[in-house]
């Protein structure tokens, strides 16, 4: 009986380990007070990506178009290759407006998923809650919608954002092919549900 209680306690202790601890990050002092994501921050730029959404054994191809309209204000539009709109959202501050969506995917659960992902994808700046390092790279923690997000910077470039829940990675945003303030390739992978979004800049 004592063994069982001990085991449960041990499991609880391991289970409660935070994401940074699990990944061997040490707290560090950082002069950076804000997370910064430059990839959708230029209002003069039309961000156009060839997109593939793999969800629940279905594959949906098209173009993802993101435009910064103003401060904390973006339009996010997904169209087929032939130009027909599948969805069209406006994200402004904490507001989320659906301008248009194809009836077949107009479900609250789908909208919530897209809203959470796009909010993080386009968030330019936010205050850091904690800073860590794994020895060489900098990891900054951000609280957004009561979820901890970790921003990984390698050589001062944002390479990854991890959204966590119960100390586990739930969604990862991976940026590669970085030229200036443009990420030529972006992947958004959900680990708790079957949803993966791959973007390639045109």
């Amino acid at each position: 009986m004592r063994f069982l209680i001990n085991s449960i306690c041990l499991l609880l202790l391991i289970g409660c380990k935070s994401y940074p601890k699990r990944n061997g990050f040490e707290p560090t002092e950082s002069r950076l007070m804000k997370i910064e994501n430059p990839y959708f921050s230029d209002a003069r730029q039309d961000y156009v990506y060839k997109a593939t959404i793999n969800a629940f054994d279905q594959r949906l191809g098209g173009l993802l178009i993101i435009k910064k309209i103003g401060l904390e204000h973006h339009r996010v539009v997904f169209t087929t290759e032939m130009g027909n709109t599948i969805f069209d959202f406006t994200l402004q501050g904490s507001d989320f407006k659906v301008n248009q969506i194809l009836k077949e995917i107009d479900r609250k659960i789908v909208l919530d998923l897209f809203r959470k992902d796009f909010e993080i994808l386009i968030k330019e700046q936010a205050p850091v809650t904690k800073s860590f390092t794994d020895g060489s790279d900098l990891v900054l923690e951000l609280n957004s919608r009561h979820k901890k997000h970790y921003y990984f910077y390698v050589d001062n470039q944002l390479k990854k954002i991890a959204r966590t829940g119960n100390g586990n990675e739930k969604v990862s945003f991976l940026f590669s092919g970085i030229k200036g303030n443009i990420a030529r390739e972006i992947r958004i992978d959900h680990s708790n549900i079957d949803l993966k979004i791959a973007l390639k800049a045109l």
């Binding site: 730029q45 060839k50 435009k67 130009g83 077949e104």
Partner: protein
């Protein structure tokens, strides 16, 4: 005593003259490019010519340029590709730039090849998009004068004919407000514009059109 001054055109009157000449010139120019409504006999003649041409067409190959216009973007999104059509209903629509993507309409099915990833369960499997894609391919031949499905309006514009097709079907009109087809003087489709309810649009222009030349069946293999 009243002095008489000889009349000399002032600078202002010269400017007025230039203004009138420019105005006449602009009016003459707009007359050439203006969009005027067709008379019913003209519309009937166009319909007949397009139908005859469509019936005599066994194959079409053409290049196309596509411009996706969204009001909030600095520039239209441009893509280019090729299309091949073989009567009665084989169509291959292929983008070459800036991405590789093709759609094949065969045996009532849509086959998609997205940069090597083949599927036939894309968004094209959605009933509404299937309908839309069939309309796009119908528009290649131009023969979509179906008054049970569209409100149709006919115009003349600079030697070409312009026809507006406004969908009657509620489901379709939620996605597309209107199709505008431009026909040249040989009643061939040279441009298609699909206008969304938001007034954003996709414009497709055809070039290097070749009719009734033989096309290998391999072009329509998946």
């Amino acid at each position: 005593m009243l002095k008489t001054v000889p009349y000399r055109p002032s600078r202002t009157s010269k400017e007025i003259k230039i203004f009138w000449i420019s105005l006449l010139f602009i009016l003459a120019l707009t007359q050439i490019t203006a969009q005027t409504k067709m008379s019913p006999p003209e519309a009937t003649a166009l319909r007949k010519e397009v139908k005859n041409r469509a019936e005599a067409t066994t194959t079409i190959t053409s290049d196309f340029s596509q411009y996706k216009h969204l009001d909030f973007l600095e520039n239209d999104i441009e893509s280019k590709g090729k299309l091949a059509f073989k009567a009665p209903d084989l169509v291959r629509w292929e983008y070459i730039e800036p991405f590789d993507y093709s759609v094949l309409f065969k045996d009532q099915t849509l086959y998609i090849n997205d940069d090597g990833n083949k599927s036939n369960l894309d968004v094209g499997s959605s009933k509404i998009f299937k309908q839309l894609n069939q309309l796009i391919t119908a528009s290649i031949r131009g023969d979509m004068f179906d008054e049970s499905k569209f409100f149709i309006e006919y115009f003349k514009k600079g030697g070409n004919s312009l026809v507006y097709f406004l969908p009657k079907d509620n489901q379709l009109s939620e996605i597309i407000k209107a199709f505008h087809l431009t026909f040249n003087d040989k009643a061939e489709v040279i441009g298609v514009k699909m206008i969304e309810p938001s007034d954003d649009y996709t414009k497709i222009e055809f070039a290097n059109r070749k009719v009734n030349e033989s096309i290998s069946d391999a072009v329509f293999n998946q």
